[in-house]
Symmetry: C2
Subunit: 155 residues, 2 copies
Amino acid sequence: MSEVVFRTATAADLPAIVALLDDDDLSRGREDASLPLDPRYLAAFEAITADPNQMQVVADLDGRVVGTMQLSFLAGIAFRGGWRGQIEAVRIASDLRGQGLGQQMIEWAVDRCRERGCRMAQLTSKLDRVDAHRFYERMGWKKSHAGFKLQLEQA
Amino acid sequence: MSEVVFRTATAADLPAIVALLDDDDLSRGREDASLPLDPRYLAAFEAITADPNQMQVVADLDGRVVGTMQLSFLAGIAFRGGWRGQIEAVRIASDLRGQGLGQQMIEWAVDRCRERGCRMAQLTSKLDRVDAHRFYERMGWKKSHAGFKLQLEQA
């Protein structure tokens, strides 16, 4: 297949990003990919874009958005003032999974973390995504932590 | 004991924050609490303080810094543009553990997340901190995720 390009998302990519987030067995129904998009998606996108320490990333294959992730660079006092690179909301288009695209995207993210001088990269993955866990472990990530979430009622 | 006050840290609190981070069996030797502090600590503190979406918090008991945590508010496209509140680097002074101070601090953090309209709060905890896991679960947090870290060599 053609070479995939990883780049910062533009607002024009947003419907495709939401569709990718929606195309996932474990979070089905959580998103609303119908057009026009819920304005909260654009508000969140603009907050990410306005933050110099964050990037919404897309994997672009011949003009088609085939993957996405959010990258956040977080200062921290621990680890002698070490920065962390955090990866969230990783998705690859269902028809292109298992072809190495996810690995390329995570490696691209880790390169950005190195460029920013991060001491570590971090992410969480749902406990039942065992294939994803093997995928990260094959790339050298250590499953050293438990990830806790507290759902808050909407205002 | 007197009422503990949770507040945004000032630069004057930084040596006490680093000492708290250092006072931990699972991360002993990772920090350097000697004075004058490694300037990277101040640089990280200033980066956190300059970011309107982050707070370095201290628990102040009659002028003594007895606890600390970092709070980050992160926009995200997932969950219909839902914000997340993220808690990192939670510490309570060793002589004051088991007295409810940690619970008060986490509840204070969750209140800040609600104020900011967050859809969820999240944190990770080392797999071997089983007491901490029970602590979060008692407060209603769900251990739904695995936390992966990738150490990056220092530049």
